[in-house]
């Protein structure tokens, strides 16, 4: 199975996302921001980084990239899309996910190993976890504070669309300790911490991040959605 990893100018964790996809057993396909062709991939990761320098607002400029127009269309058609950190910000700016990510409440960039509780395992990217599973994954961001109006937050909770929450300390002030959310269909997931940095014993605090990548392979296998199925 082929997982596309988008490189915007300023993407930084694109190589790490590709490595994680490979370790999980997928073929990683690099996608370029200026090329609208998704090259028949079965899923897409929008990686962390500072796309276009993150000037103006994080993700604000990236959402207008030619590749994003294709991804937005395909995501509405069911293509699994995972936005990590900056990728989560891009998904919110592109209105594929509700809410916004704002400056950390303490105003500092913060990099630490963070405990999360997986809340929803009904998505394309979390079905390999068990509900309530506690996982340890690095978080690193300056603008990771998730905010939305109360009605949106209540709806996310009621529909089981909060996929993970921060536990043992909230690193950025996110409302209701939200670390990640999904869309109504469960194919688009945004998460602030970095699963791709917890896939090897030598470099990560755990192997817990691998679950996101094995989840999408499992759901693709189950749905029989193989190469090009979303095009």
């Amino acid at each position: 199975m082929r997982i596309g990893v988008v490189t915007f100018p300023g993407s930084l964790d694109d190589g790490d996302a590709a490595r994680a996809a490979r370790i999980a057993g997928a073929e990683a396909v690099r996608l370029w921001h200026g090329d609208p062709d998704l090259h028949g991939v079965d899923a897409v990761v929008l990686p962390g980084g500072f796309s276009y320098g993150d000037y103006l607002r994080c993700g604000a400029i990236a959402r207008f990239a030619p590749v994003m127009e294709s991804i937005i269309d395909a995501a509405r058609g069911g293509l699994p899309v995972l936005g990590i950190c900056n990728g989560f910000q891009v998904l919110c700016e592109a209105h594929l996910l509700p809410g916004a990510l704002t400056r950390n409440q303490h105003l500092h960039f913060r990099n630490r190993d963070q405990w999360l509780k997986v809340e929803s395992t009904g998505t394309a990217w979390t079905n390999n976890f068990t509900p309530g599973q506690e996982i340890l994954i690095p978080v690193k961001n300056g603008e990771g504070c998730f905010v939305a109006d109360t009605r949106t937050l209540d709806a996310l909770e009621a529909e089981g669309r909060v996929i993970a929450r921060y536990i043992k300390g909230n690193p950025n002030g996110s409302q209701r300790d939200i670390a990640g959310i999904t869309n109504e269909a469960g194919n688009v997931v945004g998460i602030m911490p970095h699963p791709e940095h917890a896939v090897e014993a030598l470099t990560g605090p755990s192997l817990d991040g691998l679950g996101f990548f094995t989840s999408v392979l499992r759901s693709l296998a189950k749905d029989g959605q193989l190469a090009g199925g979303q095009q």
Binding site: Y52, G53, Y55, L56, I61, F64
Partner: protein, 84 residues
């Protein structure tokens, strides 16, 4: 409302990567007749009594702007600006 508005801008000779990034993105939205974009900060200070321009200037000078790289303008809301 006793509001004083402070606009903080980078000095003209200082690089503004943020403005530059926005300018570079405009053609994608079909805007082609903009040659430069610069981004600043607007701060609104509400006094409990009369708007105090001197105090506002002091706040701006000491705290809101970094005089090494930034200039600021202050004005009582609705009144023409005073350039610092």
């Amino acid at each position: 409302m006793a509001r004083v508005v402070v606009d903080v801008m980078l000095k003209p000779e200082i690089l503004d990567p943020q403005g530059q990034a926005v300018a570079n993105a405009l053609p994608r939205l079909g805007v082609t007749d903009v040659s430069s974009v610069r981004i600043g900060r607007r701060i609104e200070i509400d006094f409990t009594g009369e708007p105090d321009l001197d105090r506002a200037r002091e706040i701006a000078d000491k705290l809101l702007a970094n005089p090494v790289i930034e200039d600021f303008e202050i004005r009582v809301e609705g009144v023409a600006a005073e350039v610092a």
